[in-house]
């Protein structure tokens, strides 16, 4: 065995100036690539910022509004329309609106008993009849103000140019409408909340239960290994597949239950299973793997010593879990659940398949109602060709993002609070 070869030092590595140039070249390459990596990161951030900017951009901007009747012409004795007394407003309605319509309005609620504000809005809606002729995005409104004014002057000489935020209180409280400027997300928002309620009521106990079983009880048996693998695989199944599952099982096979007919609670006009209940159940199955995985992590992070302490006092395993493990894991479980819910709140594809109805003006009243949700509305409005629907799609997206941000922020606060406590 030759352990000491003679020519150890004469090895063909660069020396002197060669070495200097060689290292300089490597450093240059390194700088080039690190610039490229930084540029990629910036590009990624830009792409993602473009998304947000695009939505904010679409959600407000100039609109050219044309009124059927100029509000100024309605002023009486130099008093502007919005300052007029109730009686005068009723007179205006009487003189501009057909008698049949007035009768209908009276039968809904006598005009004399309505507040001044209501009457004013009625005048605007029925008499002034503002109509959005064209809308512009925020960026167009800021950078192309003069051009917009020229366009408006040429094409809509009677129109007024107003800056409008499409995401407004009216937008939140109005039901659906086929006219974009009057459409709102009230029904969709309620539909989303109802669906989420059912999802959470089902997925949370099931998910936490499964996590506790897998972490505390399940041994390394074949069945348990299958369950573990299966949960991970389920988490990767495309959401639209869950839609198909919900369609076949909840909507079609279980129609008597999910439509409420079995309980005599269903809506007889639409006695089918395309209800909030079906949607909630479908989304519950969809987020279940996420909740389980997150809850498992939370349960796993509870120190062993805590369990030993409890067991050594003669507590049973379930007593140990209920009084020590679960309370300790709760913040983590809640954080995971909120994150799973923020997934559910944005899901669209499974709901399309399950059959969310897109045009609904009546508020959903319970699990057996027909429904629409916020993301469904965004989908529907985006798919319309008219530009104004894009504006309200943007406004609804913005609303959805705000909701999501609030949920994520809650989750982060909860997590930080938890980790601070963990340090004590």
């Amino acid at each position: 065995m030759n352990r000491c070869p003679s020519a150890v030092s004469s090895i063909n590595l660069p020396e002197g100036d060669d070495l200097r140039d060689f290292i300089a070249g490597r450093h240059a390459r390194g700088r080039l690539w690190s610039t490229a990596l930084l540029a990629s990161t910036i590009l990624a951030v830009i792409a993602l910022t473009a998304l947000l900017v695009n939505i904010v951009d679409g959600a407000s901007g100039f609109v050219a509004i044309e009124n059927a009747v100029d509000p100024q012409s309605l002023s009486v004795d130099g008093i502007a329309l919005q300052d007029l007394e109730s009686e005068t407003l009723i007179q205006i309605i009487g003189s501009h609106v057909s008698a049949a319509v007035v009768r209908r309005l009276e039968s809904e609620q006598p005009l004399a008993k309505r507040s001044r504000q209501d009457l004013y809005e009625l005048v605007i809606e029925r008499v002034v009849k503002p109509e959005v002729k064209q809308g512009w995005t925020l960026s167009e409104s800021i950078f192309g103000r003069e051009e917009i004014q020229v366009v408006v002057a040429e094409q809509y000489p009677k129109a007024q140019l107003v800056f409008r935020s499409w995401l407004s209180l009216d937008f939140l409280t109005s039901p659906q409408s086929s006219v974009p400027e009057r459409a709102g997300v009230r029904t969709a928002l309620l539909g989303t909340l109802w669906t989420l309620l059912i999802t959470i009521a089902l997925a949370f106990p099931l998910g936490v239960g499964a996590a506790v079983y897998l972490e505390e009880y399940a041994g390394d048996t074949f069945l348990n290994r299958i369950i573990r693998t299966n949960i991970n695989n389920l988490a990767g199944v495309p959401s639209i597949i869950y839609g198909l599952l919900g369609l076949a099982i909840f909507v079609r096979s279980c129609a008597p239950i999910t439509s409420g007919a079995a309980f005599g609670r269903g809506d007889p006009t639409t006695a089918n299973g395309r209800t909030i209940l079906s949607a909630g159940l479908t989304l519950a199955l969809l987020v279940l793997p996420l909740i389980i995985i997150n809850a498992q992590e939370a349960v796993r992070s509870v120190p062993r010593s805590l369990r030993y302490g409890s067991l050594s006092l003669g507590a049973t395993q379930w007593q140990t879990i209920r009084s020590h493990v679960l309370p300790q894991a709760l913040p983590g479980i809640l954080t995971g659940t909120i994150l799973a819910m923020s997934r559910a709140i944005g899901e669209t594809a499974p709901l399309v398949v399950v059959g969310a109805t897109t045009y609904i003006v009546i508020d959903p009243s319970g699990p057996f109602s027909k429904f629409t949700t916020l993301p469904m509305q965004i989908y529907q409005w985006t798919a319309r060709p008219q530009a104004d629907f894009r504006r309200i799609a943007a406004a609804a997206s913005l609303l959805l993002l705000v909701l999501l941000l609030a949920m994520n922020a809650t989750a982060i606060v909860l997590r930080n609070h938890h980790s601070q406590k963990g340090c004590l």
Binding site: R3, C4, L13, E15, D18, R20
Partner: protein, 269 residues
Amino acid sequence: MTGSAVCQTSRPIPDAGCAIEARSLHVYYGIFRALKDVDLQIERQKITAIIGPSGCGKSTMLRSFNRMNELVPSCRTEGKVMFRNRNIYDSGVDPVEVRRRIGMVFQRPNPFPKSIYENIAWGARINGYRGHLDELVEESLRLAALWEDVRDKLQQSALALSGGQQQRLCIARAIAIRPEIILMDEPASALDPIATLKIEELMRELAERYTFVVVTHNMQQAARVSHQTAFFMMDADRAGYLVEQGPTRDLFTNPRDRRTEDYITGRFG
């Protein structure tokens, strides 16, 4: 590049016996001072052991010799480390070149998750080796006394080797690029006694060509292996400092400092 002075091998080196030398070296991690005012000379083609109680800055001292400390973001170094007549902490000196010339073997074996062959060849390749890689790999493995063990499985993953073999592979990897100095940070602490013995034999053999600086917490090992020993301790602020330095035999049989004597006779921590 400005790192040229280090590479000029033609220039005569004044202090021929000294491979690398720390002068008034202070090392800080954030506001914590890990090393205080160290003056330490490492002799050429000798094994120098750095001993001392744990936490006294032995590893920090070792890592200052090839600027590995810089990889810790909060680390700051004052003073000089003279290598080939130049302070390696000068702004003009390239740490990449410093490390090319001063190799390192770590406490735990850390082979790359590549084949045995690639583990050796990679360092040479990135450093611009233009010769026969096969020969270099064989020669390096022979020098590390590993060739006979692995000659038939060069393409297998290095992670499949035993701990002791992995550590010898790391030594082979370090000497494949022919550094002048090899720094070893407790190279045998994660190994069993037999593997430790092999590493020690290897160091003695390689010391004919290379300069070794070895951190060890094992005094027997220092006494067995090294020619020179430096003893470090820490003061009340937990800052490490050099107590004394000298030929190993002298230091162990006839320490000049009382603290050294206490430590080597076991009267201290």
